[in-house]
C-alpha cells in the first residue's frame, strides 16, 4: 500500500552539481584560453617598458612614458584619425550597400537565389589576396581599371599610389570583400521578419516609404547593430588589406593602428612603443566588443528565458 507524507525532517544532505565532468571536457579549451592570456600579459608588460631590440642594454621599465609619448606625438594622432576615417567610411558604405542588396534579393526568385550564392564569393577571398587582385587591376601599365579610368577622363588616376586616392582605394577593396557579409546577414534578418505587420500595412494602404522607414528598419535594427559592430571591430584593426596594398603608404596616409604597430615592431624594432600602440587599440576594441557581448548575452537570456 503506497503511503505518502510530506514535510518531515530531511535525513541526508546531498550536494547537487555536475561534478568534475564539465571541467574535464573543457580543459583543452581552457588551456588555449590561458595560452592567450600569457602573451597578452607579456604585451602589457612590454608597453610599460622602453624596449628596443636594437638597444637591448637600454631596456628598462618606464611605466606610462610610452603612452605619454604617443599622445604627444602628432603622428599617433594621425594614426587615430586614419583609423577612424577608415572605420566610418567602410561601415557606412557597406551598411548602405548591404541593405540595398538585401532589399533587392529578398524575394525568392531563381535569379535572386543565384545571385545570393554568387555574392558570397568575394567574402571567401582572403582580404590580403583581394588587395593583391585589386592591385593588379589598378596597375598603371596594364590594369583594366586604370584603362577604364583613363577612358572616362581620369587621366593619371593613381589609385593606391596617390595620397589623395589611397584611402578611396582601400575602402573600395574592403567594401568589395565585406559587403556580402552584411548583405547575407540583413537578408537573413529580412526573411525572418514576421509577416503580419506588413500584411496589415498593405491592407491599410500604408505608403511603401512609411512601411520601410517605420516598420522594416526598426525591426531590422538588431541585425543592423550586429553587422555594424562586427564591421567596426574589424575595420579599426584592419591590417591585411592595407599592408598587402601599400604597407601603410604613401607616406603615412594609410597608417592604421595595427599597420603602424607592425612597422614599429618589425622595421624599427621598437617593441615598447609597438606594444603601447596595441594597448590603445585593444582598449578601444575591448570597449566596443563589451557593448556587443552584453547585448548578445541579453538577447540570449531573453531567448532562453522564453524557451
Amino acid at each position: 500500500m503506497a503511503t505518502i507524507t510530506a514535510n518531515t525532517a530531511p535525513r541526508t544532505r546531498r550536494r547537487a552539481g555536475p561534478g568534475l565532468l564539465p571541467y574535464l571536457l573543457s580543459l583543452p579549451a581552457l588551456l588555449v584560453t590561458i595560452g592567450i592570456l600569457i602573451p597578452f600579459a607579456t604585451a602589457v608588460y612590454y608597453s610599460l617598458q622602453r624596449y628596443n631590440l636594437a638597444f637591448p642594454a637600454g631596456r628598462r621599465m618606464i611605466w606610462l612614458d610610452n603612452f605619454v609619448a604617443l599622445f604627444s606625438d602628432g603622428r599617433f594622432w594621425g594614426t587615430i584619425q586614419v583609423s577612424l576615417t577608415y572605420t566610418v567610411l567602410t561601415v557606412g558604405v557597406q551598411l548602405l550597400l548591404g541593405l540595398g542588396i538585401a532589399l533587392l534579393l529578398v524575394r525568392r526568385t531563381l535569379v535572386n537565389d543565384l545571385m545570393s550564392v554568387l555574392l558570397i564569393l568575394p567574402l571567401m577571398v582572403a582580404p590580403a589576396i583581394a588587395s593583391l587582385m585589386w592591385k593588379l587591376m589598378t596597375n598603371p601599365n596594364f590594369g583594366i581599371l586604370s584603362y577604364f579610368a583613363n577612358s572616362l577622363g581620369f587621366t593619371d588616376f593613381r589609385w593606391a599610389s596617390d595620397p589623395s586616392t589611397a584611402m578611396f582605394t582601400v575602402v573600395l577593396v574592403d567594401t568589395w570583400v565585406y559587403t556580402p557579409f552584411i548583405a547575407i546577414l540583413l537578408l537573413a534578418g529580412l526573411r525572418a521578419l514576421p509577416r503580419q505587420p506588413f500584411e496589415a500595412a498593405e491592407l491599410d494602404g500604408v505608403p511603401r516609404s512609411f512601411v520601410f522607414f517605420r516598420i522594416t528598419l526598426p525591426m531590422l535594427l538588431p541585425y543592423i547593430l550586429t553587422a555594424s559592430l562586427f564591421r567596426m571591430l574589424d575595420s579599426i584593426q584592419q591590417f591585411d588589406i592595407v599592408y598587402a596594398m601599400t604597407q601603410g603608404g604613401p607616406g603615412d596616409r594609410l597608417m592604421l593602428f595595427q599597420v603602424r604597430a607592425y612597422l614599429e615592431a618589425f622595421t624599427f624594432t621598437n617593441i615598447g612603443r609597438s606594444a603601447a600602440i596595441l594597448m590603445v587599440l585593444w582598449a578601444i576594441t575591448f570597449a566596443l566588443s563589451n557593448i556587443f557581448i552584453k547585448q548578445w548575452l541579453r538577447l540570449r537570456a531573453r531567448a532562453h528565458g522564453r524557451a
Binding site: P18, L21, P22, Y23, L25, S26, P28, A29, L30, V32, T33, G35, I36, P39, F40, Y46, G100, L104, M115, V117, L118, L119, I120, L121, P122, L123, M124, V125, A126, P127, A128, I129, L132, M133, K135, L136, N139, F142, I144, Y147, W176, P180, I184, L185, A188, T226, L233, F239, D240, Y243, Q258, Y262, F266, A275, L278, W282, T285, F286, S289, I293
Partner: protein, 281 residues
C-alpha cells in the same frame, strides 16, 4: 515590364558586375601571355595559354632576367596542412567543450566563454608580438605545430560559438531517454548529441577552414618561408622583381580556388553558419 522591374534588373546587374568582375578578370589574366596582358587597349579576345599554370606547378618561372625558382606549390600545400590540421584540432578540443558549455551550467564555463569571445575581437598583433619572441626561444618558429597551435585562436572560438548553439537546440530529453536505456554519458555524447548536431559541426568546420586558409597576419609574423601559406606567399611572389604578370594572376587564382569551390559546394551550410554565428549565438 514595369519601370520598377527594369530598375531592379539594372541595379542587380550593376551589383553583380561590381562583385564578380574582379574574379573574372583575374581569372582571364591567368590565361594570358605577358604580351597579351600588356597590350593596349586591353582586349578580351586572345589566345588562351596554360603556360602560367605550368610554370607555377613546375616551380620554375621565366622572367626578364632569366629563370627563377619559386615553390608556390609548397605554399599551397602549407595552406592545406595548416588549415586542415587546425580545424581538426579545434574540433577535437572544441566539440566536447561546446557540449560542456551547453549542457552544464558551471561558473568557470561562463567566464571562459566570455573570455574567448572577447579575445575573438582583440587585435591579433597584440598576442602575436610577444608570441613571436617566445617562439624564437622555444624553437617553434619554423614549425607547423607552432602555427597550428596559434591558429586555434582563430578556429577554436568559432567552433565553440557555433556548435554550442546547436547542442543547446537538441532536446535534453532525447539524451535523458538514451541514458535511461542504460548508456553512459560518453555513449550518449557520441551516439546522440554529436550526430544530431552534425549540420552545425559541419558549418562550423567549414567556416573555420575558410578563416584559417584566408589568414594573413599570423603566418606573416610567425612563419618562415618554408611553412608560409599562400596568403603570405602570394605577396612575396608579387614583390619579387621581374615576375610575369600572367603568372601572378595564376598564383592568385590558385590561392582562392579552394575556398571558392568550398563556398559553392556547401553554400547553404556557410550562410547558416555565418548568420547563426553572428545573430543567434
Amino acid at each position: 515590364m514595369s519601370f520598377g522591374r527594369i530598375l531592379r534588373g539594372v541595379l542587380l546587374a550593376l551589383v553583380a558586375l561590381f562583385f564578380l568582375f574582379p574574379l573574372v578578370w583575374v581569372a582571364l589574366m591567368s590565361f594570358m601571355t605577358n604580351a597579351d596582358i600588356l597590350r593596349s587597349p586591353p582586349s578580351i579576345v586572345f589566345t588562351p595559354t596554360l603556360e602560367n599554370y605550368a610554370a607555377l606547378i613546375a616551380g620554375e618561372l621565366s622572367t626578364n632576367v632569366g629563370a627563377l625558382k619559386i615553390d608556390y606549390m609548397q605554399n599551397l600545400l602549407n595552406s592545406l596542412i595548416l588549415s586542415a590540421c587546425s580545424v581538426v584540432l579545434s574540433l577535437l578540443l572544441g566539440v566536447p567543450a561546446a557540449y560542456a558549455f551547453a549542457r552544464f551550467k558551471f561558473r568557470l564555463g561562463e567566464n571562459m566563454a566570455f573570455t574567448m569571445l572577447s579575445f575573438r575581437f582583440a587585435p591579433p598583433l597584440l598576442v602575436l608580438l610577444p608570441l613571436q619572441l617566445y617562439f624564437q626561444d622555444l624553437g617553434l618558429s619554423d614549425t607547423y605545430v607552432g602555427l597550428i597551435w596559434v591558429y586555434q585562436l582563430i578556429t577554436l572560438p568559432l567552433i565553440l560559438w557555433i556548435v554550442r548553439g546547436y547542442f543547446e537546440d537538441i532536446s535534453e530529453d532525447i539524451e535523458n531517454a538514451y541514458r535511461l536505456d542504460g548508456h553512459s554519458w560518453l555513449r550518449t555524447f557520441l551516439k546522440i548529441a554529436v550526430p544530431l548536431a552534425r549540420p552545425g559541426i559541419a558549418a562550423a568546420a567549414l567556416l573555420a577552414f575558410i578563416f584559417a586558409w584566408n589568414n594573413f597576419i599570423f603566418a606573416l609574423i610567425l612563419g618562415s618561408s618554408s611553412i608560409q601559406p599562400v596568403t603570405v606567399g602570394a605577396l612575396a611572389f608579387i614583390t619579387a622583381s621581374g615576375i610575369n604578370y600572367g603568372q601572378i594572376a595564376a598564383a592568385l587564382v590558385l590561392s582562392i580556388l579552394p575556398t571558392l569551390a568550398l563556398a559553392l559546394y556547401a553554400q547553404r551550410y556557410l550562410v547558416e553558419g555565418l548568420s547563426l554565428g553572428a545573430v543567434k549565438g
